[in-house]
């Protein structure tokens, strides 16, 4: 219970948005990072708990080849990023068939690695998919240089100059990760075995720690190579310029199904975010420092919107909307009646009437920003024990299941799946890459191997079966005669008490944009500069503007 909650007599429930409003692709595809984003959650914990960082190992030659260890020490445990730096000829950068075809490879080790551990990782990590790691490792990752910026920075620093700020701004990172594997992939530690640790209970904390330490490595390696080349005259990156650098990432369709495959997790992320907004709206008054904090956050958002570029037509329109809406918010703050009852709610209601989805969701992030004391504890509710809800309630009467479908899936039952444009696509896994793709049903083969990702249609089919079944019979009996519905029944029973579990749109519709799913997930990660290169893959930047390990202790706001 925080101070602000004591001052607020209203329950937050009536300030919460319903799932029917929130769980739409158009809105989820307009999400912005917020202080509940996972990288922010991690940085706050590192700062608040006084974590310390060092680089106990750095064995890198003049060509920039070798390895280093980045260590993060917390109150109870230590985590170490073991980084391998490679010398990759340019022609291999676009060909991932051959092992060691990355500029750098990484594993996050659980504890302090011994020389034997590092040697073992050296025999596996550089080979990525062709190697294996163990439960002592939490992640496996790799990154390639942004050759253009990397070379520019090496050239500048080695001759004693700072790099061109415009070049830095145009790219935003020295390296981009092309995969960060966690959750037991390639033999790594299972998520369930570490989920109870307080520092890892929020989602994707090991992945975020990995990328944040990779960011430190990208600067170290560029300075190391510049020093080897320039000798005494070589410069180090100016800290202010360094701070603007993040880690790039390119992400494709592979990430899109995640939100659909993890309904309880999605529910918990969404509820935390919506409850945070409701708590801010429910405040009876406003504190001057919160109002000042909002203005400051708006200043950052305006600056970010200026440097945020994309060539993709959809994103260009959204960026236009965003810039326009941020201008409207800026003007509104000048007339904002702080003496009115519940001024934050009044501001939200104004935005709801006035702004596009882009602007509304940006306003949400802005309103949370100065209210850490009110909302930060919600980060603790964003994890999920999905295994605990794996078992079905077989005794549930079929009539009750029908009721759940009519209440929680009314949006799905309203879709006419006999219309070609409503079944235009199908999700499948490609034989070639074992990753999810989206096909055109009318023109491509493979629809018989459709993945169960169009929840709306699956529920619609289940409803047809349920309507023709004895309402008093138990679900267990229904499943003996209709085993094909087991997946949907499990899901519907979850949705009964997880109102934000489902993306309430048709994921196989002709006009569905997969990048909306990516944007939602990446905003929860805390990614900025979302830049779609098509309707199916994007480039983003992680940790741009965030503190570096040696800076975090002195941060006021994380």
């Amino acid at each position: 219970m925080t101070l602000i909650q004591h001052e607020t007599s209203d329950d937050t429930a009536r300030f919460r948005r319903p799932p029917s409003e929130v769980m739409r692709l158009a809105r989820m595809g307009s999400f912005h990072p917020s202080r509940l984003s996972f990288l922010r959650v991690m940085l706050r914990r590192l700062r608040d708990e006084g974590w310390t960082f060092d680089r106990p190992v750095w064995e890198v030659d003049d060509k920039g080849v070798g390895h280093g260890v980045y260590r993060a020490k917390g109150p109870e445990r230590t985590y170490s990023l073991v980084a391998f730096a490679h010398d990759l000829p340019p022609e291999m950068r676009s060909d991932r068939v051959i092992a060691t075809a990355w500029d750098a490879t990484f594993a996050l080790f659980d504890g302090d690695p011994t020389a034997e551990d590092i040697a073992r990782l050296g025999r596996n990590v550089p080979y990525q998919e062709a190697g294996r790691i163990t439960p002592s490792e939490l992640t496996l990752a790799r990154a390639n240089r942004s050759v253009r910026l990397f070379d520019h920075v090496v050239a500048a620093l080695s001759s004693g100059r700072q790099p061109d700020a415009a070049e830095i701004e145009a790219v935003g990172y020295l390296m981009r990760t092309t995969a960060v594997y966690g959750s037991g992939k390639f033999g790594a530690c299972d998520r369930a075995d570490i989920a109870e640790r307080p520092e890892l209970s929020a989602p994707f904390q090991v992945e975020m720690l990995t990328v944040w330490l990779i960011r430190a490595f990208t600067v170290d390696i560029v300075e190391h190579i510049a020093a080897a080349r320039g000798g005494k005259r070589a410069a180090k990156l100016d800290p202010a310029m360094r701070r603007t650098l993040g880690v790039g990432n390119s992400t494709g369709l592979g990430m899109a199904p995640f939100l659909v495959r993890h309904p309880i997790l999605l529910n918990n992320w969404m509820i935390a975010r919506e409850e945070a907004l409701a708590r801010v709206r429910a405040q009876a008054g406003s504190r001057p420092e919160a109002v000042a904090g909002l203005r400051q956050a708006l200043g950052h958002a305006l600056a970010n919107a200026e440097v945020w570029h994309s060539e993709h037509p959809v994103q260009k329109r959204k960026l236009h909307d965003l810039r326009h809406d941020l201008g409207l918010i800026s003007a509104r703050l000048d007339d904002w009646d702080l003496g009115a009852v519940r001024p934050w709610d009044a501001l939200w209601r104004w935005g709801d009437r006035t702004l596009t989805c882009e602007g509304q969701e940006a306003l949400l992030s802005l309103m949370l920003e100065p209210h850490g004391d009110l909302v930060d504890d919600l980060a603790e509710c964003m994890g999920a024990d999905e295994a605990a809800r794996f078992r079905l309630d077989g005794a549930m009467p079929v009539g009750k299941l029908r009721e759940i479908l009519e209440n929680e899936y009314d949006w799905a039952l309203a879709i006419d799946f006999d219309t070609p444009e409503n079944v235009a696509r199908f999700w499948y896994v490609s034989e070639e890459k074992l990753e999810p793709r989206l096909g055109e049903r009318a023109t491509e083969d493979g629809a018989t191997l459709e993945q169960p990702l169009c929840i709306a249609r699956l529920m619609s089919e289940l409803y047809t079966t349920v309507r023709n079944h004895d309402a008093g019979a138990p679900v267990a009996e229904l499943l003996l005669s209709h085993p094909e519905h087991r997946f949907s029944v499990r899901r519907a029973q979850i949705a009964r008490d997880h109102p934000f579990a489902e993306v309430r749109d048709n994921l196989i519709a002709a006009d569905m944009l997969p990048i909306d799913l990516l944007r939602c997930k990446l905003a929860f990660f805390g990614a900025s500069q979302f830049d779609p290169r098509s309707d199916r893959w994007v480039r983003i930047n992680l940790f741009a503007g965030a503190p570096f390990p040696e800076e975090i202790a002195s941060e006021i706001e994380a």
Binding site: R93, S94, R96, E129, A130, R132, P135, S146, V147, T178, A179, V180, S183, G184, K185, F186, G187, A188, D190, R191, A192, S250, T251, L253, G254, M255, F390, R391, L392, G394, V429, S430, E431, E432, K433, L434, E435, R437, L438, E440, T443, E444, D445, G446, L449, P452, V475, A476, L479, L480, P483, E484, H485, R486, F487, S488, R490, R533, R536, W537
Partner: protein
């Protein structure tokens, strides 16, 4: 296996497994691979998830679940639901055609019926008749024992295995139940709520041949790439900018 630029987070890492010696997989790898393999062998997606659950549970209890599941899938491949499922009636759950029951379907159905009159409650006996690869039934019974406070005994002509809430008897049960088929009868008695064993057990090891069999089943769920899909999934550009 080919990879191209902007290749992102893979669903499966076991496809790359090349170790000559059996090696431990993570539970996530086991669940993911076995779910897809079971689907490829003809189970519905929801039942395939049960197969993934069972194999991962066994691995985390030191038993090579993927090995038993791959053997079961090879045996049950292509069979119809009606040839594999039980018909639950009070005291008797045999297959309607007298065939050998699928242990995954049987286990999931036992859990579904836990609170129903035909279900495995305290003081009840149920005859299953022949059950294939009976070790795969154990994860479901262990769940039930823990969730409902039961001590479960599985008996067959000439033998018996106990599955308690704590799962401590598992290694003994595994040795007895790790065979192709048994004619099983279940007896459930009330028991004090059990505690999971305190000491973590290292994950069981799985052989590359097993993984290859499961991958072959899993590949049946995939679609050969077309030029259209390749073009849309990621960038066709190099990664040198």
């Amino acid at each position: 296996m080919t990879t191209v630029p902007h290749d992102q987070t893979r669903g499966d890492s076991t496809a790359f497994f090349r170790d000559l010696q059996p090696a431990p997989l993570s539970r996530n790898e086991v669940a993911s691979l076995c779910t897809k393999a079971a689907r490829g062998a003809g189970m519905s997606w929801g039942m395939a998830e049960e197969a993934g659950f069972a194999a991962a549970w066994l691995v985390s209890h030191g038993v090579d679940g993927p090995g038993y599941l791959s053997a079961h899938l090879e045996q049950a491949d292509g069979m119809a639901w009606s040839e594999l499922c039980p018909t639950p009636t009070p005291g008797k759950w045999r297959n309607a055609d007298g065939r050998t029951l699928c242990p995954i379907i049987l286990g999931a159905t036992i859990c579904d019926h836990a609170d129903l009159p035909q279900g495995a409650a305290a003081g009840r006996r149920i005859e299953f008749g022949p059950v294939g690869m009976p070790i795969l039934l154990v994860p479901f019974l262990a769940y039930l024992a823990q969730a409902r406070g039961l001590a479960i005994a599985l008996s067959w002509p000439g033998g018996m295995a106990r599955i308690g809430a704590g799962g401590t008897e598992l290694s003994a049960a595994a040795a007895l139940l790790g065979c192709k088929t048994l004619d099983l009868t279940l007896d459930a008695e009330p028991a004090a709520p059990g505690r999971p064993s305190a000491a973590p057990i290292p994950n069981a090891h799985t052989a590359a041949e097993t993984i290859a069999i499961l991958n072959a089943f899993a590949m049946r769920t995939t679609v050969p790439a077309s030029e259209a899909s390749r073009a849309g999934a990621g960038s066709a550009l190099g990664d040198n900018d």
